[in-house]
């Protein structure tokens, strides 16, 4: 087992496009959970409508990429309203149930046979990023970086744009949360009734937070479609949402840099465990397991991280423990 190359590979993925995309989606989730206290277990649903907004516009209707982003964001807006209107007046658990169910149902509908002319069914859509790659200022075939830590031109372009978006969104979050709006939002997280008694329309504030976080999530979905140039519905399984939760809790919920730090740490850990498992498998130390099982073990490991984090360190790496002891109202 070559521990150095595994470490290099892990570092590469910690800064790579996927980590950036997850950081973006986790920023949305941070607005939901970290600041407003909304339990959204269906963030992947927002990513899915964003990705398919781009996919369907570009691959089926031949629209420019910018229109695709617009469609994706619009779909996320509609989804957030659909989820929010029935549930946000109720206790937090209703939103959690509705979102987890809605995200999975959307996936099943998008992959269904009758939707195939539009969504490509289980096969998905492809050839999505031609527009994006013509804007690429880097040489597509060139490798940038040093040593093992290098990305090719296309990936570097996605990486720069996505981390740029992450920075913009993190800045936006910082500004919003230091505005009067942000103080109301955090007040809702701490004590909804107290905020209501001050004459604030809690429902409207929660809805705004849900929409905003959902839009950021769908932006992450759009970037995913652009990065991969193809999308399949089965990439949007519920575990993506759970990864986002691990990222958020690992980094620290309710902190601007929490999701960013969390995404880097999470993808470092995932690639590292994968490398170690593969290495141990190659050495013959894991006689009971075949290589397809490694993915399942990693997912179980993500679940374990979730449990251990929430029990022993709910504030994550940089969070504030007092802020994370909120309860369901």
């Amino acid at each position: 087992m070559d521990i150095l190359s595994i470490l290099a590979e892990s570092t590469r993925s910690a800064f790579g496009p996927i980590a950036a995309i997850y950081a973006l989606a986790a920023i949305g989730l941070n607005i939901h959970f970290g600041y407003t206290g909304l339990l959204n277990f269906g963030q992947v649903g927002f990513m899915l409508v964003g990705a398919y907004g781009v996919g369907i516009s570009v691959a089926v209707f031949d629209l420019p990429l910018a229109a695709g982003f617009g469609v994706g964001l619009l779909c996320a807006l509609v989804l957030a309203l659909l989820l929010g209107i029935p549930t946000l007046r109720l206790r937090a658990d209703y939103l959690s149930i509705t979102t987890i169910a809605a995200a999975e149902v959307i996936r099943l509908v998008y992959r269904a046979g009758f939707a195939e002319p539009l969504t490509g069914g289980a096969f998905g859509l492809q050839n999505l990023s031609a527009d994006f790659r013509t804007l690429n200022p880097f040489e597509a075939g060139e490798r940038y970086g040093f040593g093992l830590l290098a990305y090719n031109g296309n990936h570097l372009w996605v990486l720069v744009v996505t981390w740029g978006l992450v920075a913009v969104m993190a800045g936006l979050t910082w500004m919003l949360m230091h505005s009067p709006w942000g103080r109301v939002i955090k007040g809702i997280r701490e004590d909804e009734d107290a905020v209501r008694s001050l004459g604030k329309n809690v429902f409207a504030y929660k809805m705004q937070a849900l929409v905003l976080g959902g839009l950021i999530g769908s932006l992450a979905g759009c970037m995913l479609a652009v990065y991969q140039a193809s999308i399949q519905p089965d990439q949007f399984k519920p575990q993506v949402t759970f990864f986002l939760w691990v990222i958020l809790l690992l980094g620290g919920a309710g902190r601007v840099f929490g999701p960013i730090l969390g995404a880097m740490a999470f993808w470092f850990l995932m690639t590292f465990t994968d490398g170690v498992l593969q290495g141990m498998g190659a050495l013959g130390w894991l006689p009971f397991l075949d290589s397809p099982d490694y993915g399942a073990i990693q997912l179980a490991f993500a679940g374990l991280m979730l449990v251990v984090l929430i029990v022993f360190r709910p504030q994550g790496i940089i969070g504030d423990r007092k802020e994370m002891l909120v309860n369901v109202k």
């Binding site: 659909l82 509705t98 169910a101 509908v109 269904a112 096969f123 397991l289 179980a300 002891l325």
Partner: protein, 519 residues
């Protein structure tokens, strides 16, 4: 606690660093390749084996691949560029043809960028489907209605359309399968609702407890060897530990109690190891009904263990409810993937119950196994209702569900009641899994898919009420099935969800819930 954790972690890291090993093979990320998966159009979860794919650069052959048993193929490419991909039409099974679209006449051209491992979509369709023109909807509607097999991941249960073709006959047939499906949902959802009632916690791992039941029953009905024996031994050990903890709590001193529990658990693990080492030498097999019994007991032990060793300590540490939800999501993830590792990702059926002569009741045709499922489900539901209504523990469960603090102050041992509720819920979930698996297929994600419908059922009936879960389950089952009369079967779950959202809009407390529950 924390220092110990850190020490263990450090030790692990040093061990990995120190151990020498062969240098890892060439960087797996680099290089160009084309890959893909060719799926069976009749069943999107299965691949088609043995289709040849050849990649040309101009006229030079670069590489060739054949799809494996899962339909996967991959061709490594030497450099970026434009390649011509040819699908060998001869190797495609005669019942399918390559769908025209991206691939024309079995050929297509792809641009491959540097370091790009590109997926290429090659889709098959049934012969004759392309007669109506390439742009028309593929043959899915036809193939989906033809039987349960095609449903796959698209819909939980495809209705078995019987002999009658008239609308009335179809309606009756679907009503019956709706009731059947509803009963299965109801059985699995009671535990979810009771657990919510007693602890105010939504157990997101409930679906995976359903899967667990189905898998265990499958294991013991098809022959348990080393794996089955080991599982049984571990669960026996933990079960005894939970029982000791639950029953003797007030009668034994604390240290003795803890020691006895650990002895039971380690005894179970030791026995499991021995049995695992002996492997296939102790082989046995029981009929399905007995396997279902074992599954129910093991499901109850699983539920009880989770309550005793995870949820109770967390409650005593005053962990907030939101945090508990997240823990249960994590547990669901662990449970699902441990099941996946142990039992594999295959789709199985209980042997011997699949091909059965249908029994006709007027216009409705049913397989005998479905009659048995219905009978068992109704009997169990009545039994649970009686338990809740007439026994001491049942009354205590309802009391705790109504108002935990009041119940505690009137002398009910709330912790013990919660333990029983988890045991009951786990057992019922396992039974629901066996019945669901009997009606459909057993695979590792079945429980999660059922969980969505269970949520709909529980919210429809009223969170926290056992009878609400029964009513809601039946309603969701009926709506899901009857929707297939007019809409594609893949939309079944969407209708259940729509029903749930509608309910939240007009009556958020559910059919049988009380108004003040909702904030």
């Amino acid at each position: 606690m924390r220092t110990r954790l850190v020490t263990v972690l450090l030790a692990l890291i040093t061990a990995i660093l120190v151990i020498p090993g062969p240098v890892a093979a060439a960087d797996e990320q680099g290089g160009e390749a084309l890959h893909g998966r060719i799926l069976n159009p009749d069943n999107r979860d299965q691949g088609v084996e043995g289709i040849g794919i050849t990649v040309y650069d101009g006229e030079d052959e670069i590489g060739a691949a054949e799809t494996d048993s899962d339909g996967m193929w991959e061709v490594e490419l030497p450099e970026p560029g434009t390649y011509r991909v040819v699908v060998d039409q001869e190797s495609v099974p005669s019942e399918f043809v390559v769908r025209e679209g991206i691939v024309v006449d079995g050929e297509t051209e792809v641009d491959v960028e540097a370091d790009d491992r590109r997926p290429l979509i090659v889709a098959l369709e049934g012969v004759g489907a392309d007669e109506g023109g390439a742009s028309a909807t593929p043959s899915d509607d036809a193939s989906d209605d033809s039987g349960g097999e095609a449903a796959g991941e698209d819909g939980a249960i495809a209705p078995t359309t019987g002999g009658g073709n008239s609308f009335g006959a179809k309606f009756l047939q679907l009503t019956v399968s709706g009731i059947l499906f509803g009963l299965v949902i109801a059985i699995s959802a009671i535990g979810l609702s009771l657990i919510f009632g007693t602890t105010k916690m939504i157990n997101f791992a409930h679906g995976d407890m359903v899967t667990f039941g189905a898998m265990v029953a499958l294991l013991f009905s098809t022959g348990a060897a080393g794996l089955g024996n080991s599982l049984l031994a571990i669960f026996a050990g933990i079960g005894i530990a939970v029982l000791i903890g639950g029953l003797l709590e007030s009668r034994l001193p604390r240290t003795t109690l803890i020691v006895a529990q650990w002895v039971a658990i380690f005894g179970g693990i030791a026995l499991a190891t021995t049995l695992g080492v002996m492997g296939d030498s102790i082989q046995w097999q029981v009929p399905l009904w007995l396997a279902a019994g074992i599954a129910v007991v093991m499901g109850a032990v699983l539920g009880g263990t989770m309550e005793r060793y995870i949820w109770r300590p967390l409650r005593h540490r005053n962990v907030a409810l939101i945090q508990m939800f997240i823990v249960s999501i994590g547990l669901a993830l662990i449970l699902r993937h441990v099941i996946l590792v142990i039992f594999g990702a295959g789709r199985n059926r209980y042997a011997g119950y699949q091909i059965q002569e249908l029994v006709q009741f007027g216009p409705v045709a049913m397989a005998p196994r479905d009659l048995v499922i219905m009978g068992v489900a109704i009997a169990v539901l009545v039994a649970v209702a009686c338990l809740l209504q007439f026994t001491r523990i049942g009354k205590a469960m309802r009391a705790v569900s109504d108002n935990r603090d009041l119940a505690e102050s009137s002398g009910i041992n709330v912790d013990r009641v919660t333990l029983y509720v988890w045991g009951l819920g786990g057992g019922l979930a396992a039974l629901g899994g066996v019945l669901y698996g009997l009606n459909q297929v057993v695979e590792y994600e079945m429980g999660f898919r059922l969980l969505l419908l269970m949520f709909a059922a529980v919210i429809l009936g009223g969170l926290g009420t056992a009878y609400g879960a029964m009513v809601g389950g039946l309603a969701v089952g009926l709506v899901a099935m009857l929707s297939t009369l007019w809409f594609p079967s893949q939309l079944m779950q969407a209708w259940a969800l729509a029903l749930m959202i509608l309910m939240l809009l007009v009556r958020p407390q559910g059919l049988l819930g009380r108004r003040e529950r909702v904030g």
